[in-house]
Amino acid sequence: MEYKLESGAPSGPIQTAWDRHRFDIKVVNPANKRKYRVLVVGTGLAGASAAASLGELGYDVQAFCYQDSARRAHSIAAQGGINAAKNYQNDGDSVWRLFYDTVKGGDYRSREANVYRLAQVANNIIDQSVAQGVPFAREYGGLLANRSFGGALVSRTFYARGQTGQQLLLGAYQSLMAQVNAGTVKVIPRTEMLDLVVVDGKARGIITRNLVTGKLESWAGDAVVLATGGYANVYYLSTNAMGSNVTASWRASKRGALFANPAYTQIHPTCIPSHGDYQSKLTLMSESLRNDGRVWVPRNKADAWDEGAHKVGRRPEDIPEKERYYYLEERYPTFGNLVPRDVASRAAKVVCDNGQGIAYEGRGVYLDFADAIGRLGENTVRERYGNLFEMYQRITGDDPYKTPMKIYPAPHYTMGGLWVDYNLMSTVPGLFVIGEANFSDHGANRLGASALMQGLADGYFVLPYTIGHYLAKKGAQPKDTSLPEFAATATETKERLNKLLTINGRRSVDDFHRSLGKVMIDKVGMARNAEGLKSALAEVREIREEFWQNVSVPGNDNGLNQSLEKAGRVADFLEFAEVKIHDALNRQESCGGHFREEHQTGEGEAQRNDEDYAYVAAWEYTGPGNEPRLHKEHLKFDYVALTQRSYK
């Protein structure tokens, strides 16, 4: 198909673009809003804030989530904080600086106009959250506290202990439930979207499965909003929740929504290393720990991990200062331990590849608080990081007040997602995509504390305006699930579920997921090369073929069946993985989280190729087993000069 990938961002000065755009787009008459029904899928920060805000405006909203309550979406696990350019610290922050840092941090692969808007509305998010009762950390004078985060030289991160995501999500969830009470929003939990219904080229509804009764249901609306998060679970082991999946996005992609930059994945530097092959997921330790923790490995390989003995050569406390390699401080004297996530992760991989790793399979580095405890005292450290230390100790059995933490990078966040224009609408008219599920604001690498900012910006302050433009232009449609497109899509969904249930194979769903994850992390992880990517493509196909012949999905589809839920999600990951690999192969440059070994500087840093690759790669699904087709949105940088990112 022909796609014109135009962002639709207004031309002219970027500082006033969003104001002018809000004036230029159509507005739905307040009395007519209740005639429009919006289906919101996912109730994390983006989905809950969007559904609540649309309800407040008077739209008829139905919000879906697979969890038993809207409060449990995985945004809840975000620990560190949320950025805003309030400049409360008087350290020179501004909307411009936040904009600049975000474009630079994203390694110049994001859309300037979107990022500027994000930086502008960030301040409103802090105001909104405080008004909702989000208990952000405060100073003794009663004003809000800030902390520093990777990739920025100002202190602009607002936080609520190590539970910022939880508190922001509860704020959005409570606003959502207030709308449920007001009768504008209906929340439909324990329900998973399994397909998108497209009528005359426009998104008009969804097919869902009730996860308790197994019933397939059709829902019709005037627009569909996907707020279904990222795809990091394609790696099997990631910091995502067990249920996080790509199904809604992937199904939408098969119905005509282009998938942008699927190669971009953020591998977060500070996670607890794996312990063994039974590992079910990886736990993130907030990046804020790098404010006071120092990262190092032993200089001598003899002191590192010994796989045979299943322990390190020498305990970290016994290694003298001069035999410790503080590799971030040495390699990046300006930013030190606060380099952006992609840089920190790759640096950890380099030392571990060099045999200096200190945890299971040689995959781990130390994060040491001894200096901070000496300088600040144990009490201050406890106040800042107490709950994180407690969490760490519970999982590993080690006490970080006494011995350094062990950390290693893990897949965490995905910058790619469905392509959207400036109005956050995908290439399927009427299908909007917000939060992590879209591709728009973080380029090739997301800075810390920016995910919460983007999810809430989209939900509270962008989508509620831009969706009105689409709705006002179209006029209210009949909410009619008897259209033949609904029946046809539901039949396809039903057949797929039946197929999964009748294979009666010998391998569990998780076992296939693990095989997929291993290929992806080894060959499409922190470092990639053409040869590895090509072999990954073949291996993923093999796994997928075996999956459809040998997966075991016990039980039936007329009740709660967790094996069936997982099987559907893994089946979609097995298809999605292929387009991700194609994207990584196509992008013959290194940028942000996408590191092609063939393209690096003499010092081992990412080498971008702005001449050939300053574009968004948006992939069109072209049928089962076919190669996806590439479409490009060329990125123009009018305000930020493209430079080699340096944190030295």
């Binding site: 309550s69 449990r72 909702q132 939880q166 508190q167 409570q174 207030a178 939990p189």
Partner: protein
């Protein structure tokens, strides 16, 4: 290590349910409790048998999805931990472990160890929020809040809505859960306009859902994985009594 599991299996809300025995073999002491169950379930799945139904999502102690009664204690007896944070180093080779769902009239069993906690959502819907439309908030620094107050509010706001307090309470009361939300919002200046209406609506919803009353057993605080303090209940009671006067005038 090897363990014997006695697991509650129940096909649906109307099924009678019964304990069944399973063996967990070669479990590493570094594995988490839920990873041990994953291993048992994968064994069942590869034999074509239906796995044990249990829920979990974040597996880092914050989403509040997981939870069951392990050896008689909600989330297991490890202090201040959700079940997903319990590791097998807490168990010994040869142990017999009993697994039951959270039991309460207000939390019907959906399958095996999975219960329906939607009553909690309805309690929040009744009034567990501050009404503020997006776009209408004043600057965040308009109202300074003393750190002590903000910290107390945060202690209460840490509740993850897992339901362990209800499962542990001999009366199956949800006072800790509800008190936590009332305290979080009623302590803050932003929560004052709806303070009394909020507490009254939420307590009425509690009654309606069939939760029991508080008779000061304090089992809830012992079971709470997030250390929500007991005084949230007294604060809620104080405001509830206050509401009887304030709302009348």
């Amino acid at each position: 290590m090897n363990l014997t599991l006695k697991v509650w299996r129940q096909n649906g809300p109307t099924d009678k349910g019964q304990f069944k025995t399973y063996e967990a073999r070669d479990i590493s002491s570094d594995a988490s409790f839920l990873e041990m169950l994953d291993i048992v379930n994968e064994g069942l799945e590869s034999k074509g048998e239906e796995p044990i139904g249990f829920e979990s999502d974040c597996r880092e102690g914050i989403c509040g999805v997981c939870g069951m009664v392990v050896n008689g204690a909600a989330h297991h007896s490890t202090p201040r931990a959700t079940l997903c944070q319990v590791h097998m180093r807490e168990f010994k080779d040869g142990d017999t472990v009993t697994l039951e769902p959270f039991r309460s009239k207000a939390f019907p069993v959906l399958k095996d160890l999975i219960v329906d906690r939607s009553a909690f959502d309805r309690v929040i819907t009744a009034g567990g929020y501050i009404s503020v439309r997006a776009g209408s908030a004043p600057d965040a620094h308009v109202t300074p809040i003393p750190k002590v107050l903000s910290d107390r509010s945060m202690d209460a706001a840490a509740c993850i809505g897992c339901g362990a307090c209800v499962a542990a309470c001999p009366n199956a009361a949800a006072m800790l859960f509800t008190g936590a939300k009332v305290t979080h919002l009623n302590l803050l200046p932003q929560g004052q306009p709806e303070r009394y209406k909020r507490v009254q609506a939420m307590v009425e919803q509690l009654e309606h859902e069939g939760f029991g009353h508080c008779s000061n057993h304090q089992e809830c605080v012992r079971a709470c994985p997030k250390g929500v303090p007991l005084d949230v209940i007294s604060l809620m009671n104080r405001d509830f009594i206050g509401a009887q006067f304030k709302l009348r005038s």
